[in-house]
Amino acid sequence: MYRYDEFDHDFVQARVAEFSDQVQRRLAGEITEDQFRPLRLMNGVYLQLHAYMLRIAVPYGTLNSKQLRMLGHIARKYDKGYGHFTTRQNIQFNWPALSDIPAILADLASVEMHAIQTSGNCIRNVTADHFAGAAADEVADPRPYAEILRQWSSVHPEFSFLPRKFKIAVTGAERDRAAIQTHDIGLHLKRNAAGELGFAVYIGGGQGRTPMVAKKIRDFLPEADLLSYCTAILRVYNLYGRRDNKYKARIKILVHETGVEEITRQVEAEWQELKDAELKLPEADIRAIDAYFAPPQLSDRPEGDETVKLARLDSKRFSDWLDQNVVTHRHPDYAAMTISLKGIGEVPGDASDSQMEAVADIAEKYAFDELRVSHEQNLILPHVARADLKAVYDALVDIGLATANSNLISDIISCPGLDYCALATARSIPIAQEISRRFASLERQREIGELKLKISGCINACGHHHVGHIGILGVEKKGAELYQVTLGGSADENTSVGEIIGRGFSSEEITDAIEQIVETYLGLRLDPQEKFIDAYRRVGPAPFKEALYAGEAKAA
């Protein structure tokens, strides 16, 4: 994985010193809140309902054991013993004192981490496929390009005060696990007919109050042109993106209002000016960054087949977990696995200090010291020998993180909602917990099959509800929480925005409504292989509306 060079170390240390000074001056009353707010936001410090919140960047979701251990340490020493992994592959702490933040940032810097550009109208943490470097279906590891983008975008003088925040995601496989079409820029790394690496480029995707699926503006951009092309996009956006209305300031609105053809023309024209200048990536530089992401030496471990076979016979629970949370690795003796942070009835994405430390130990012992945070709020061990799967499973059981539910209905994305967030209009976590408990039976979840359920506690859509197969949006209506349901959203290579199915449900009704939707699907699917999303796309909303609301119509 990437290691800081001297420049990175100096840069992060300088920022820690600068922000520490700003915090000291704020606490001493030398600068006002109005002056301080933009400074703290540039360093990931928000003010939420109960306290400050610190959002720490996990670049493209990649961590080593030492870093995760440090996050556990911060949770214990400065916070309340836990952290919350987010849909930008970051982590948030919910209770840090402002006066402790300089010390937290110094601790983070000691393990090559920081909170820079995790907020504000700048280019945010670049996200990537959480199975990058391990997935069997990958063309190439997308993370070197995410790292190149990180270096280019960090305190970029031209792009530090954009009309609005800007999010980039990269995937290296046909199967999109990074939700690239919901991003301001989505990059799909692929090879052309000549075998050269490049990107399909999408722009203008996003969620929030105006959800839009990104538009492809280029089918193949040579890898050397990554920065010049992204600069061209950002320039057009920075120049023409709206600054008069926060709700119309994202690039998706510009793309929509300008039209894909015209904005593509503008980007291409700008690019012509840039493409052969200093932003062209030298082959040697790309390969140098690539080298940081060289996969670990995976020696053959052919005994894995037999070990797994015997362990399966020995334990049905292990067998279930294997079927659900373990995926194929490009090396046949290895596997990539999801550590679910979605235990039944637990808070999606939360991990305790001791869980973080224990997972770090597991990664160090069995997974080449590598970990990932997924945008679905789980942790990933990308490289584990199949021969070690049972040992890893047993270690996860010991810390309560062996829930077998990856991609099932209880693997819910949920924003913090009104339990923490100052912007939220309704709670999300208790709804996630109740649905998780209702569908606790693994047998029942597996019968339902792949189902992505996503919950947001306000229209900003941090919980990705627009692209959930089932999406739930919590709003406030007449002083009470009301939950609106959308169906048919998806965040993969066939991205779609869900459709509102009808009137909303109270917090007491919503879990029943979800169950009714699921039962309706089970009743109409062609066979158990037809997934919820495929069935919905085949039949449309009518049968679901009928199931949810027909009684009312008749009563009325």
Binding site: R26, L47, L49, H50, P96, A97, S99, P430, E476
Partner: protein, 97 residues
């Protein structure tokens, strides 16, 4: 009926104005029953903000239940108690102890 609330500058913890200072709990917050008191509380909040004691200062609606001040909106109820999903955190934790 309104009370004055804010978050403390140093640690961000939610506080309410009571007995001439900022209290960690809402229970005994000073209630404004009329516009004049609201204005006075607002001025106190503005001064505390300017004096770098607190941030995010607001007047919020409350009612009195069994002699104790209770916020009206769910958002403010949660601020006054803590996350509804973790009773070991926030103000409610101390209350339970």
């Amino acid at each position: 009926m309104k009370v004055l609330t804010a978050n403390r500058l140093t640690d961000g913890i939610a506080v309410w104005y009571a007995d001439g200072g900022w209290a960690d709990i809402v229970d005994n917050a000073e209630i404004a029953h009329d516009k004049a008191t609201e204005d006075r509380l607002e001025a106190i909040g503005a001064a505390a903000y300017a004096g770098n004691e607190v941030v995010d200062v607001n007047l919020i609606d409350v009612s009195v239940v069994d002699g104790v001040v209770e916020p009206v909106r769910l958002r403010e109820k949660i601020r006054a108690a803590g996350p509804t999903i973790r009773h070991d955190l926030g103000k409610q934790a101390a209350r339970a102890a």
